[in-house]
């Protein structure tokens, strides 16, 4: 608590009534006044320039409001029927991409995670695996997808490769942290029985990380579905491609239907995955 001394130049003497009682003031967030004012003026200047360079076009925004209204109306009367075959195909494609990429990603992430764990991997392997994880995690999925679309052609195959790469980076990092937190006692116990390195990993390490691996895979399954819904924008298949087409044609009620389906599946996946994770832990 900071008491503002500037408001009460003479501290209250015992037995006398102070004409100006000391008042409590909330302590400021940043104690150093110079830094505080620097942060405040800095942000004001930043926001001024950020807003003025944004290029807001009021006429264009006014034009957009009726369209926004149209879209909202579409949300209340979603049209599942007109484009039903396109929608069904997109959903199946997205779900297939999700399942395949998660399954392959989980299998591939295990060696990577073991290589990226400081407590068991050789320093050179550790550095290589960490570099792979850093690169795969840094770029957004859509950006990676652009390249795979060029390499493998349009369609869901490029999407699967993208999602596998993203899954490996994500699971590899989290699993490596889990391995680093493992107890070495069990590993040493298995090693003391004369087991080879693969056996040490299977019997000493895997049982320790397995529940966490299943939980993380479920979580990633959920993320992969969301991502599969958008990488279609750059031509990598899935429901995103269908959605993009409906927006391009201004078919807002079909777009709303697709969005509602995505929200529904995401909610379902989230609940199922959190249920499984709770049961495991």
């Amino acid at each position: 608590m900071s008491l503002s001394s500037d408001k009460s130049p003479t501290p209250a003497q015992p037995g006398t009534v102070n004409p100006q009682p000391r008042r409590w003031r909330r302590p400021p967030l940043i104690r150093n006044p110079l830094l505080r004012w620097a942060v405040v003026t800095g942000s004001i200047i930043y926001f001024y320039f950020a807003f003025t360079t944004m290029g807001i076009d009021p006429a264009r925004i006014a034009q957009g409001i009726p369209r926004g209204w149209e879209f909202l109306k579409g949300f209340f009367w979603p049209d599942f029927w007109t484009r039903r075959s396109d929608i069904a195909e997109g959903v199946i494609e997205s779900l297939s991409m999700t399942l395949i990429s998660t399954a392959i990603g989980v299998v591939l992430c295990i060696p990577l995670a073991i290589g990226a764990a400081r407590n068991i991997a050789h320093p050179v392997i550790y550095a290589i695996c960490r570099a792979i994880i850093a690169i795969t995690r840094t770029f957004p999925e859509v950006m990676i997808a652009i390249f795979f679309v060029i390499m493998f052609g349009f369609g869901p195959f490029a999407g699967i490769v993208t999602l596998v790469i993203a899954t490996i980076g994500f699971l590899g990092k989290l699993l490596a942290e889990e391995i680093e937190a493992c107890s070495m006692d069990q590993i040493e116990a298995i090693r003391a029985t004369g087991a080879s390195t693969p056996k040490v990993i299977i019997f000493g390490l895997v049982p320790q990380i397995f529940p966490r691996l299943v939980g993380l895979s479920m979580y990633r399954l959920d993320i992969n579905f969301r991502e599969s819904a958008i990488i279609g924008v750059v031509g990598a298949g899935g429901i995103g491609a269908t959605l993009n087409t409906t927006f391009d044609r201004y078919e807002f009620s079909s777009a709303a239907a697709i969005l509602l389906i995505i929200i529904g599946i995401v909610l379902l996946a989230e609940n199922v995955s959190s249920y499984i994770r709770q049961k495991l832990i």
């Binding site: 930043y46 926001f47 950020a50 807003f51 360079t53 944004m54 290029g55 807001i56 076009d57 264009r60 925004i61 034009q63 957009g64 409001i65 369209r67 926004g68 879209f71 199946i92 494609e93 779900l95 297939s96 991409m97 399942l99 395949i100 399954a103 840094t138 770029f139 957004p140 859509v142 950006m143 652009i146 390249f147 060029i150 390499m151 493998f152 052609g153 369609g155 869901p156 195959f157 699967i160 969301r226 991502e227 819904a229 958008i230 924008v233 750059v234 298949g237 995103g240 959605l243 993009n244 927006f247 201004y250 777009a255 969005l259 995505i262 929200i263 995401v266 909610l267």
Partner: protein, 270 residues
């Protein structure tokens, strides 16, 4: 302990026969579903392009090196836009998510019905990806930074709202009761009883989301919502791969920087 008899000898087994069969059945079902999915994908894939991919990759690699360094002069503007999309989007999202989180938290909501509405808003915002929001706003308000900012905002509201209301629900009730006991009005209870408790979480969540938003704001340009993604899209479409590699390099540095900054701030707060 499950035991099996083999040649009159009792052998230890990990699972009972029933458990083993169930597991095999589960794996079989998984395998069948996987194969079905694979068939679906295979039907939609032109394998001739896939077999050809190593040549494409090599070709791409050759064209991407070396990066066209002089192109960087054209990138400062888009980079500034990217930073603004992420920052303004996060700030707007914080402004919208904070009241929403207080309405959605069990211990601060004025009415259970309002809580349900707030929860639905949070879920809807979270379920739709930034890029989809961006497509929507580009169609509504035209291409540009505004669409990007709004897209980032609407996706982040759900993220910040969810994490914030969870941390509000975890606060200790004692300071709240103490402020109420000395006669604090509801706004005073909020500012002196609740807010100091959630403040570290609040800063942590906001900075974390800003870090994610930097990454997202580099791609909203692909659908026309401003930022460096516009340049990426233009370069890819005109096959200027030496520019693409420079953009990727800059995105890489930007993301690493934002990750470092957010980690530093979070460490300082908590």
């Amino acid at each position: 302990m499950p035991v099996a008899e083999r040649d009159g000898l009792k052998v230890w087994q990990r699972r009972t026969r029933g458990a083993t069969l169930t597991r095999w059945a589960a794996w079989l079902v998984f395998l069948l579903v996987f194969l079905y999915c694979w068939q679906q994908i295979s039907e939609r894939t032109l394998w001739i392009f896939v077999l050809d991919s190593h040549k494409q990759a090599w070709d791409l690699g050759v064209r991407m090196t070396p990066p066209r360094w002089t192109y960087i002069g054209d990138l400062w503007g888009p980079l500034w836009d990217t930073l603004n999309i992420a920052t303004l989007g996060t700030v707007l999202a914080i402004l919208m998510a904070t009241p929403l989180a207080f309405l959605a938290a069990k211990n601060t909501t004025p009415h259970p019905l309002i809580r349900q509405v707030a929860l639905i808003l949070i879920v809807a915002s979270r379920s739709i990806n930034t890029l989809i929001w961006a497509i929507l706003f580009v169609v509504l308000f035209g291409p540009g930074v505004v669409a990007g900012v709004l897209a980032i905002t609407l996706r982040s509201v759900g993220f910040i709202g969810k994490l914030l209301y969870e941390s509000i629900e975890e606060i200790s009730p004692s300071p709240v009761e103490a402020i109420r006991a000395v006669g604090g009005t509801p706004p005073q209870v909020l500012t002196y009883g609740i807010f100091p408790q959630v403040f570290p979480a609040f800063v942590g969540i906001s900075v974390f989301r800003w870090d994610i938003n930097i990454r997202e704001s580099t791609i909203v340009g692909l659908v026309g919502a401003g930022g460096i993604g516009l340049q990426l899209d233009a370069s890819v479409n005109s096959l200027l791969w030496s520019q693409v590699s420079l953009i990727l390099l800059i995105v890489f540095i930007l993301v690493l920087f934002s990750e470092w900054l957010s980690a530093t701030i979070r460490k300082a707060v908590t």
